[in-house]
């Protein structure tokens, strides 16, 4: 590393998984300068996936998911204080406590937050919760332990579905209200989402699809909700699981390409300014980043995936301390997982970047399958249900742009289970109640449509 890059001041805004892994990588690669990590929550970095699983099942405490560090970081942690602005010309991060932090290089890793219920008075009812932070998880776990008569979950994305699964496992009645035609439709497409709907109903979830919640009711305490079909759900607890909002407001006046879709960057995690010119001292990683991916036609992707936060943080940190020719691109194939209703769902590639899907192995009936997704004759994703060992194989097909539907031998010599691909029925994300975990932030694959939406 050249002398000037291993010294100086680096500020990381965001003290979660991506921020932590970037800090580790910076030190591992020999950065000896000053390192400051800013986080708006008072907690040191913690892991989120257990919050909707172990914690809600009562198997782990919400405050026990603090992340391990691979090494000492020698960092100045500024926790419990939010960044409120960025003076990019003056190279300073402005903090909520009035201080400003000078930097030579900056990493933005501010992630996302839970989308709140839009009506503040209804959202303030006792018993109306969201699930994103450890504190949220502690509150919800406490409510579930108290044995509510019914829980209403608004939104059938991964978070909503995992909450519903935990409720059923604890013997709690639960209603899921989903605006789309099935749970997980944004992540898996409408065809495979039928499996998710079947799983929920088989486990006793009162699943309502194609409806929206029009009002939360209660007098101080939440008692129930009105649905758009005229029905009413009586419940003691309401979890608003309508997806995530990217934390970019603090960058509004920064002159960077930051907005509701995320912070745009090149394949090396260098942030674009508002004119689309790449900066050389501001980097971004994790849920808040949107970046071009060559496997998906350079579509700008924003991924709310654990693995992406780790991989992208590693690349960003490496590039922050490396001269141009030694910089690396972030080309990891997206992977996500969920466990719910007794099955393990894993995905590689981008299922929403597809027009067709085929069941390559297993079957819906067995609840053990591999679904392979294609776009214009090329494999772009695979989803496994209780067949995770196959994921790597299909990742190879995606990386080599193998033809879709996969030919004989693609499933380890087995013939494909279904001969004919069917439409994957990926919905327009604007029609979903929750956000999909992969946001195609440019256009849908089958429609050259730019998803720009003014205002909140």
């Amino acid at each position: 590393m050249p002398r000037d890059l291993d010294q100086g001041r680096i500020v990381i805004v965001g003290a979660s998984l991506a921020g932590l892994r970037a800090a580790e990588t910076l030190r591992e690669e020999g950065f000896t300068g000053s390192l400051t990590v800013v986080g708006d929550e008072p907690h040191p970095p913690y892991d989120r996936p257990p919050l909707s699983k172990q914690v809600l099942l009562g198997k782990a405490a919400a405050d026990a998911t603090a992340l391990p560090a691979r090494r000492g970081l020698d960092a100045d942690w500024r926790l419990g204080v939010a960044a409120t602005g960025l003076d990019a010309a003056g190279k300073r991060v402005l903090l909520a406590d009035g201080e400003s932090l000078p930097y030579d290089r900056l990493l933005i890793a501010t992630g996302t937050r839970a989308r709140p219920w839009p009506d503040p008075a209804q959202a303030a009812l006792d018993g109306v919760l969201t699930l994103r932070t450890a504190d949220d998880a502690a509150r919800l776990a406490e409510r579930l332990a108290a044995g509510p008569r019914r829980v209403l979950v608004i939104g059938g994305g991964f978070t909503g579905s995992e909450i519903a699964s935990a409720c059923r496992e604890r013997g709690i009645e639960v209603t899921v209200a989903e605006r789309g035609p099935a749970p997980l439709v944004g992540a898996l497409g409408g065809t495979l989402a039928k499996l998710a709907a079947g799983l929920q109903r088989a486990h006793g979830v009162d699943l309502r699809c194609g409806v929206t919640v029009t009002a939360l009711r209660g007098n101080g305490r939440f008692t129930g909700a009105d649905l758009s079909d005229g029905d009413r759900v009586d419940a003691d607890v309401c979890v608003v699981a309508m997806g995530a909002v990217r934390n970019t407001e603090w960058l509004a006046d920064s002159g960077l390409a930051a907005g509701r879709l995320g912070v745009a960057c090149d394949a090396g995690c260098r942030v674009f300014d508002a004119y689309g010119i790449v900066t050389d001292d501001v980097f971004v990683a994790g849920d808040v980043a949107r970046f071009p991916h060559p496997l998906f036609e350079y579509q700008m992707l924003a991924l709310e995936h654990w693995g992406n936060a780790v991989a992208q943080a590693g690349v960003a940190a490496h590039n922050m301390v490396s001269p141009g020719p030694l910089r690396r691109p972030h080309l990891a194939v997206p992977v996500f997982w969920s466990s719910q209703f007794g099955v393990n769902v894993k995905s590689v590639g981008v299922p929403s970047f597809s027009d067709q899907v085929v069941i390559a192995q297993g079957s819906l009936g067995e609840r053990r399958l591999v679904a392979v997704y294609g776009y214009r004759g090329r494999v772009t994703a695979a989803v496994t249900v209780n067949m995770a060992k196959w994921l790597e194989h299909y990742q190879g097909l995606i990386e080599t742009a193998a033809p879709f539907p996969p030919g004989p031998g693609a499933a380890d010599g087995h013939p494909l289970v279904t001969e004919f691909p069917v439409p994957s029925n990926v919905p327009d994300p604007r029609g979903l109640l929750h956000g999909p975990t992969v946001a195609l932030t440019g256009h849908l694959p089958d429609r050259r449509l730019t998803l720009v939406r003014p205002g909140g």
Partner: protein
Amino acid sequence: MRIVVDLTRCQGYAQCVFLAPQVFELHGEEALLYDPDVPAGLLDRVRQAAAACPVQAILVGEQVRADAP
């Protein structure tokens, strides 16, 4: 001592479940649950589990100390 399992890598081989069942359990056929906060008495078992994992998905380390400066 804290652990985190990279469930992106985890393929449900369950070596960890055999070695340290107090910390790791399978939920259904192949979804792994674990206690991120390892009791001191189980540290050796968890280190063995981390070493035995065929996909090296278990990271053992100290919790990040973020004391105010």
